[in-house]
Symmetry: D2
Subunit: 340 residues, 4 copies
């Protein structure tokens, strides 16, 4: 079989991560076309990655006869439409989370996906592909922890990004911290537990940046969730970690527990200096999840090449967004929200 | 000033910890009398600790003319009455948590305490006196973490105790896991945050020992709490930790975070063996909190000698029990409970 | 420029690691030919990696008109001759450590390398390319540790390999543990310190496998070294680590110290089980140094493409072998050995 | 039996540690008398610890009829004479390491000790009494590590003390870093291995404080040692650790290895701040070994009360000093030194 020819839309930081992997690190894929509203981004990426076709318009890219699949890394508000257009153009689709902003549009997009059963659709929850998460998943599935009772998920961005987020939030809507960030943790809870989430209560507090209260955004939020088998999930989501990019997951079972990323160490170096004994930490998602982004895209390639179901489906995306929305509603009402 | 003469009631594991400290490790205190319903315990303790007076009856001990203070380490159901009688006998009182089982009897006991303002009353929340907790408290109070936003507390007993707990629970009432165990964590939340707790939602699951469902007991519970300044608290309480005695507290603030007992290491030894790189862990509360129990009792002595307020008051005990009761009610109703 | 066309000799575990990287993970390189004395290895690798040319004879491979460079991963005894032949055939050469077994043949090989200045020669000390070692090197070079005073290097293979080594050693000569294993650590000492090693004393002990005494092999050895600036190096080399593959390097300077691989963690997972708090560990060199092997080969490609000096020269190989030989001599005589 | 009545000489930092333990924390001992050349120290300690008798002259203290035992914490140069005088006065003796400065005077002191077999003599190697070291010793003696092959010992003082040491060294003689500091590590090697040390090579380097070269003192030294069963010991001794008081011991055996104090954590707190993930560290010997000093002195009391041999004998002191002297000689000659 010849290589999978990719058209990619969205050339922000994550877009460039995917573009670089496709162009340089996955022999089975060729980065044939890139699309962005920003000509400078196109020019830079084309030079760097030696891409043949560049497009300012997404539908123009879809009209190219040289593509097998589309990788969507554009702002979330474009996802649903871009998924639908790509599927209708007969192409496979990889889309970054979330599928869409509202449950209504996601439902509609799932219907479109279902009417194209011979094209692959895969959603980008990269954490599942991280070596440490894979290792943990194997232990859980092998019963090493016994039956799970509690799952704790932290996802906290580095405080170095707070200033720019506050500016962004003054004029834009992130969708709320639960949909914007905790959605990864919600997916992990579903993936590890193989349960659905029934009830949530969410809280939030702005302490360092009280101005976020005005725009209904959160610096830090928490949620507690009851799962269908009565397991419990605890979630901390935030944007203000002084030590870096803190993604941590804990699984407590009847026979043992484990933590992924409790530190979260940048590498195998330990410093002994005036501060004490120090483990340097990961500072951002490309650093922490570089291997996961690559493995994820390889999994998409494998699904196409071997005509297998993709590991992350539209339903996974729908459920995660549904629960994130419930968290947001719970935070706004300060009451428990049931998920049907 | 001569030494403080102590009468101690209750010679279980914790009772013997306090008795040994008073008899052997605190020069300012003498263990003059001990009381237990169990003659064997009395005989053993008397021989071991060289105690002059032994009593099968608590009121007989109170009648001794040789006492300055009473240390109560009896089952919780006796606490309120024993506190009252000791105070009425003119003695200072140190009482293990909780003050009592019901809010009504605790309220009444507080009234008695208030009518004896010249006698010291101190409640035993030993964790506050642990060196690591003291170190953390100083950092928090010095502002090193900025403003607190999230507090996470774990208190999980070793699974080695599960079998005997299941037997105990078949015939007895622990008061529920929140009142029995999480009360320490609740006190820590109040101590670190200097806030009151307004709303709680609590969950629970029995997985390894489903028979606990029958007796309304829990193997593992969680709770989320909203504090008066909108800070958030997350709590895991359990009886089934394979690795030992897991008491951990995390404080997340706007400038940094810290964890106490994340491991929780038995000592400074690291093993490199077929399992990997292993830190042996504490297995029980006397091992983990030996230093704290001693420092706590010394603090009681200092309060008496220097006529200072005790560091932990009856109100601290009342509030902790009130919140534990709210957790239990929330778990039973699966609804948020407000604390007035 | 078109891709670098590689012929690779030696298809053992490390040979397959390099072959796979060249074939699958380095777009700038093509694996055109493979050579092995073992037809089964050739057949397997050809199928797995889609290689066009296979050779049972090294000189036949050199005669292929389709090659730009040779990668040598054969047994050490063949290295010198294979380097010389490849250079004389006009090809670039990457060779796994060591260059050769005796200082005499290495000296002669260096002379051949010097007479082909327009062909690249690079020796494989992969540890230098590991992300953690790179991070440490940058800190050292930036002066973060001040002036180095002590370097400690551990390289201990997992005990899982002991049985097969004992069988191997009964009939073969590894060259001694210092030349076979510690040579990596010796290179690191030179790399970090930028000093030469002047004096060494080496010791050894066989405890679990005393039969190794008969064949002049070692289960565990140590060495202390004095560097040209009077810095000190301590080295432990072994074959019997119960917990896995233990490669650790410590750098002590006047302003701080650091350790690489003190644990050495397999990933970011921490287990809490009956053993205590456990970090699973790397079990072998492909697991621990997978990223380093890839980066190393990419560096070789870059040297060719951009016509730059290779990062590891023949002199680096000569010096490391010289010091390893001094260690071996010191162990055998139990006296300090000077290196001129 | 009535309490052991102690006279203590030397009221520096370590002297006050012992004095406080005897006066406040060991019920079986009474601190009856203290002796110092410094009247201010005497006055302060008397007030603080409520001591009856104070002496500016050691022989005057020995003349007191109220003493059972002498605790010697004076400068090392006085030890031999003070031991001898105390024994001749019929008293038990606890003496801080070392017994004396020269092997000749130590030999003579051992002869005096031997002529007083009914009086206890104990040397102060407190590390043996540290809980972590005790735990490790039990594992070793139970065979958990198999047969020992390598012992690594670090003892590095915090750099906060460097400035004052450089001033001290300008006018005084510490006895050399091996006798002054590494003697503790040498004792640990003998204790864990139950072997004698046969051959040593020692090195040293002054980097931050080259002026120490002028006074024959060392900022950092290393030594390698061959033990009687051919086990190997590696030693780093220093005065310049940026992160605090670094005492670490590693034991490598055929079945596993362990490290004591690899971090060396101040307590159970982990910080997550701008530096990364930080374990605060012990800053000095009273902080790190507070428990060990107390347990050590209790062991001395038990030896007297139960008429048992003391756990650390004069021979232990002689051997440690002998090896430290060999290290110093080896450093000065840059040759291996044999110990007979």
């Amino acid at each position: 079989m010849s290589n999978i020819r990719i058209g990619l839309v969205g050339l922000g930081r994550l877009g460039m991560t995917h573009a670089t992997n496709i162009a340089k690190n996955i022999p089975e894929m060729d980065l044939v076309a890139i699309c962005s509203l920003n000509q400078d981004e196109l020019t830079t990426a084309q030079a760097l990655l030696d891409v043949k076709e560049t497009y300012l318009d997404y539908q123009d890219m879809l009209a190219s006869p040289n593509l097998d699949a589309i990788v969507i890394v554009s702002p979330s508000g474009f996802h649903c439409q871009q998924i639908q257009l790509a599927l209708e153009a007969g192409l496979h689709v990889f889309c970054e989370k979330p599928i869409g902003l509202s449950l209504a549009e996601i439902d509609q997009t799932l219907a479109v996906i279902n009417t194209h059963p011979h094209q692959k659709f895969m959603l980008g929850f990269m954490r599942r592909f991280d070596d440490s998460y894979q290792y943990a998943k194997q232990l859980v599935d092998a019963g090493e922890l016994g039956e799970l009772t509690v799952i704790r998920c932290y996802g906290i961005d580095p405080s170095s990004g707070m200033e720019s987020f506050v500016k962004f939030a003054a004029n834009s809507n992130s969708g709320g911290i639960f949909a914007d960030m905790a959605i990864h943790d919600i997916d992990l809870i579903r993936w590890f537990s193989q349960q659905e989430i029934n009830r949530v209560w969410a809280l939030g507090k702005n302490a360092a940046y009280p101005e976020l209260d005005q725009v209904n955004e959160l610096e830090t939020g928490t949620a507690m969730m009851q799962l269908s088998d009565h397991s419990m999930a605890l979630l901390v989501t935030g944007r203000n970690a002084a030590h870096g990019y803190h993604v941590e997951t804990e699984l407590i079972g009847t026979k043992g527990m484990l933590r992924i990323g409790a530190a979260p160490e940048k590498n195998l170096v330990t410093l002994y200096n005036e501060q004490g004994v120090v483990r340097p930490t990961s500072q951002n998602f490309p650093e922490r999840f570089g291997q996961a982004f690559l493995t994820e895209m390889k999994a998409f390639a494998t699904s196409i090449i071997e005509d297998l179901p993709t590991p992350i489906s539209g339903v996974d995306g729908l459920q995660a967004t549904k629960i994130a929305a419930a968290c947001q509603q719970s935070f706004e009402t300060n009451e428990i929200v049931e998920i049907d």
